[in-house]
């Protein structure tokens, strides 16, 4: 539904998006994850035909974003990052205006407004001036606007930023619901958010994609399996040799500690049982045995930390 090929975008000499490629299949819910300044908004603005790319190509719903921009714009429902609205208009007036721009005639428009009003819980504020409403309501009006023409593709730029925890939960529930009927791409700088709403992730940092796939695939790929830590009382070399012989071990690191041997094992399998068996067979007492499953959180935190360091001490 969305196909991005070798897309780059420069602002002057700033490279905001650097040769990225990814696809979003019909019916997918994809989270576009990255720290602030990673290039999420820039990519989304290219996909929604707001800005042209410097190079590369992108198609949405089968139409080129540059050559068939009007067609793309009719297929996409877009929630921009800061949810720009006209404060002097009432909610209903605003949705009517947007409905007209979407080419809906009067009965269609009123039906669509009734539908999105219910969907986004706007009943209480439908006749109030937008300028008086809280951030939570503004966000919902933005979503209602994006849903008005029942688009095939929904693109949401940081849909929960600036909301309170209750509103965040509501919005996530709504997005999960919408995912049943639309292809959704949302951006976020928050891993928990993407894990709660999306079936696939695309992680972007400094304009480049660092990883993509389902959360499970990513965990696999990021760590190349899990880590085992064991401490046995036995001769260093013999313990290391014994462990290397176990099935599925890819890397072993040992460290002597006052008669004990501490082993760090990288392996695709869970070897805890085999290590326990080995310890009893060889008569090496065991005082620690645990498995560390790498989390996406760790991976993402590393990326964010690296990005932050770079902004503090820029490369010369």
């Amino acid at each position: 539904m969305i196909e991005v090929k070798n897309l780059s975008k420069f602002y002057g000499h700033v490279r905001a998006v650097d040769n990225i490629s990814f696809t979003v299949a019909e019916g997918d819910v994809v989270g576009f994850l990255g720290p602030n300044g990673a290039g999420k908004t820039t990519t989304i603005r290219i996909l929604t035909c707001y800005q042209p790319a410097t190079s590369g190509s992108a198609t949405v719903a089968g139409h080129d974003v540059f050559k068939e921009s009007l067609k793309v714009r009719t297929e996409v429902g877009y929630l921009p990052e800061n949810v720009p609205l006209y404060p002097e208009m009432r909610t209903r007036e605003y949705l009517r205006f947007r409905g007209k721009l979407r080419g809906l005639d009067r009965p269609e428009r009123e039906a669509a407004i009734a539908r999105v009003t219910e969907r986004c819980w706007l009943g209480d504020v439908i006749d109030r001036p937008i300028g008086q409403l809280s951030k939570g309501y503004r966000q919902r009006i933005g979503l209602a606007d994006a849903l008005l023409h029942n688009p095939r593709v929904l693109i949401l730029d940081e849909p929960t930023v600036g909301l309170d925890p209750a509103q965040i939960r509501e919005t996530r529930a709504l997005i999960r619901e919408l995912a049943n009927e639309h292809t959704v791409m949302l951006s976020s700088h928050n891993l928990a958010e993407v894990e709660a709403t999306c079936r696939k992730l695309v992680i972007i940092n400094r304009g480049a994609i660092v990883a993509a796939g389902t959360p499970d695939e990513l965990r696999q790929r990021i760590t190349g399996g899990s880590k085992l830590i064991a401490e046995l009382r036995g001769p260093n070399e013999q313990v290391a040799a014994g462990i290397r012989e176990l099935n599925g071990v890819s890397d072993v690191h040992t460290e002597a500690r006052e008669g004990w041997t501490r082993v760090t094992i990288t392996s695709a399998k869970d070897l805890r049982e085999s290590i326990y068996t080995m310890s009893t067979q060889k008569g090496w007492p065991l005082r620690e045995l645990r498995r560390e499953v790498a989390t996406l959180e760790d991976f993402f935190v590393k990326i964010v930390a690296a990005a932050r360091e770079e902004t503090v001490t820029p490369k010369v």
């Binding site: 800005q51 042209p52 996409v76 006209y86 947007r98 007209k100």
Partner: protein, 239 residues
């Protein structure tokens, strides 16, 4: 077409929600009132014509018209609504045209306020209705050209006040060039500036002379600046 109408309607709604609209309306009516009083257009014995009032009004428009148009596109940039507009199926041309039409509707309402003068004249004397009609046509033609310049200025910046200044400066120059500075030039340049003499062209309307050349001139200025505004709006997204 529907998009243009929707944008025009929304713009009018916003215009009438903003205090600037009422300040402009009041200011314009006061200014034309003062002009009518100063030029003694309604003294007993004065000729029953609005010519001096309308000429004065044209100078006032140099300030007031860019004040009507200043927010149109600037405000969309500033508030970010430009993004939601341009990601809906709306063309740059529809946006600019809708803005222009909305401000022209407001402008017509504004100059309708001056209809009291011909009405008073009809009560106290017998003015030529044809000349009054032609004078109003002149006001509309001048207003349209000025408005297009103002919309163009608004497309250049996200700051309304800057848009107002950018709109006023060329209008002041245009009015002054044709009228006063033209004497310092010679040859081709002189005839070029003479053809830009808005004051003279407007005076033709004021005297009841509607020439196609003047109509084409004001229409041409309107089309040119709206076209430039479309190009600027287009280029905004290219950065």
């Amino acid at each position: 077409m529907r998009n243009t109408a929707a944008i025009m309607q929304r713009e009018l709604l916003s215009l009438f929600c903003s205090p600037v609209a009422y300040i402009v309306l009041m200011g314009f009516l006061i200014a034309t009132g003062v002009i009518a009083w100063v030029t003694s257009a309604f003294e007993p014995g004065a000729p029953a014509t609005l010519r001096t009032v309308f000429t004065g009004t044209m100078f006032v428009l140099v300030i007031f018209v860019p004040a009507i148009s200043m927010r149109t596109i600037s405000e969309e940039y500033r508030s970010g609504t430009f993004e939601s507009l341009m990601t809906a199926p709306v063309s740059d041309f529809q946006l600019v045209l809708g803005k222009y039409l909305a401000t022209m509707v407001f402008y017509l309402i504004m100059i309708a306020g001056t209809l009291v003068y011909p009405i008073m004249m009809m009560i106290f004397g017998s003015p030529s209705l044809g000349v009054a009609f032609s004078g109003y046509l002149g006001l509309i033609a001048v207003g349209s050209a000025f408005m297009a310049v103002g919309i163009f200025a608004s497309s250049l910046t996200r700051n309304q006040i800057v848009a107002w200044i950018l709109g006023t400066i060329p209008l002041v120059l245009l009015v002054l060039f044709g009228q006063f500075f033209v004497q310092f030039f010679e040859g081709r340049l002189r005839s070029f500036f003479q053809s830009l003499n808005i004051v003279r062209r407007f005076d033709q309307f004021n005297r009841g002379l509607i020439s196609s050349e003047d109509v084409v001139f004001f229409l041409g200025v309107t089309v040119l600046f709206l076209f430039l505004a479309v190009k600027v709006v287009e280029s905004r997204r290219w950065r």
